[in-house]
Amino acid sequence: MKNRKYLYLLALLPFMVVAFMYEIIPLIMVVINSFQSDTGGGFTLENYKTVSGTLLYQMAITNSLKISLISAGIGILIAFLGARAVMNVHSRFRRVFMTILNMVSNFAGIPLAFAYMILLGNAGIIVQLGRTMGWDALANYNLYTSNGLAMVYVYFQIPLSTLLLIPAFNAVRKEWKEAAMLLGSGSTGFWLKVGIPVLMPSILDTFSILFANALAAYATVYAIMMNSISLLPIQIAGCFVGEVKIQRGLGGALSVTMMLIMVIMILLTNVISKRFQKGVVKK
């Protein structure tokens, strides 16, 4: 009987084989490769030196950080306004709004890039509209710069961030607001001193998800910019695809850098978030 029980472990085998072949070992190999030279030889930090010492890769890191921080920041801001507004409206309108958000949250990648090129590309509909109307800000809009691109990032951050923040707003009780009002605080005062601090852990969590989301975005950027902007995912893919010789070491080091940035962001938001939770408990 006992032996038969262990026989059942065989049923776990296919799962483990696939998981190890396509998930665990490839990921471990990326880390190992990053410490090995592409020309052969043993352990080396050469790849990391290349990453930190080459202007192209420095730019990839700063550009990626910049666009992720900006788009996550704007995304959070709009999500905050949106989620707060959702709490105030009629439940039927709320449902319509949430359904549309859910649908649009699947609008990403190549189709999104294409829609933005139709809209804001060089001969885009809105750009033309701006020209005819004489609105310079629209007429001179350039999608193919990092600032122009940030708009597309903001677009895909909004449905995600709003959907993530809405549940948190349920925790902000009406009674608190009424109490604050009775004590003479205005709406702004309430949000600054009570609402936002209470929501802070959720806001930070959402922020780190948005950050990761933007950091890893690849299809959308690639479709719009090809390789003409230096971003981490683009450089990583560039090391493996389309080159005559695959640069395992360098690509590995870039991948590890990207994963590290993500981990640091998660740790950072966790630490700050703990502070806020402590503060709430103390009060």
């Binding site: 998930e23 990326v30 707060r84 699947n106 990648g109 479709a223 690509g251």
Partner: protein, 273 residues
Amino acid sequence: MKKHQTGSVIILLLILVWLLIPLAVTIIYSLFQNWTGIIPRGFSLKAYVEIFSDPAFLTALGRTVLICIIPILITILLVLLALFVTELFFPGLERIVQIICMIPYTIQGVILSVSILSMYVANKTFLGNRLVMLIGAYCIIILPYIYQGIRNGMRAVNMPVLIEAAEMLGSSRIYAYFRIIVPNIISSVIVSSLLAVGIIFGDYVLVRNLDGSAFQNIQIYLYQAMKSDSMKSSAVFVVIMAVTFAISAVVLKTDAADVNPDKRRTAEYRNMR
């Protein structure tokens, strides 16, 4: 309070307009032959007729459907077998299975694809076949959704009690699991499969990195059409978005009572970039 509501409605409407403009403009674009001024002119369904009579488009569509089905079937089978072992015989291993299933949430399409590529590209056996690599990668990317779907389903039907009852009535555990539990959780399996279809359908990163343009799925088709003919590609766009929205509508409808739909959707979202 009334004034408050008006303000909120305006904010939400602004967000909706912002989100829907790119969709609406591209749909209109696909229906008119000439849109250089402010008002589009020359209504025509020409672009749709053109793509649906283009064999390359139809093959791309067929390929996409095929590449959706295979990894999903494989992953469902793997997860069902794995959970069969951990739920009934080795609960201690459950944690390991869970961690393995959740890792793909956090690793990104780019990193997963290049790591698989660099490992198998020089392999001379069938493992070096690009399509095999792609199927392997898809199995991993959809793992979290399939796992959570099946797991939630099992919780909802109260599996231990059902198995116990079946055993008391004289059936074996294997029989009870595959003939009683699995049919009972089939609806959650379907919902998670649909989520997985959505992911693979929207994928460009994995297919591009692992197969170049050799395996022309619908996203690659759109990407290539985009450079030459924007009316045709906006029709392709409309077809892709219609399928995507149809899938998510079905998921939303059947998934309304799900325990933690937000979390699932978050990750889905992330992998699609």
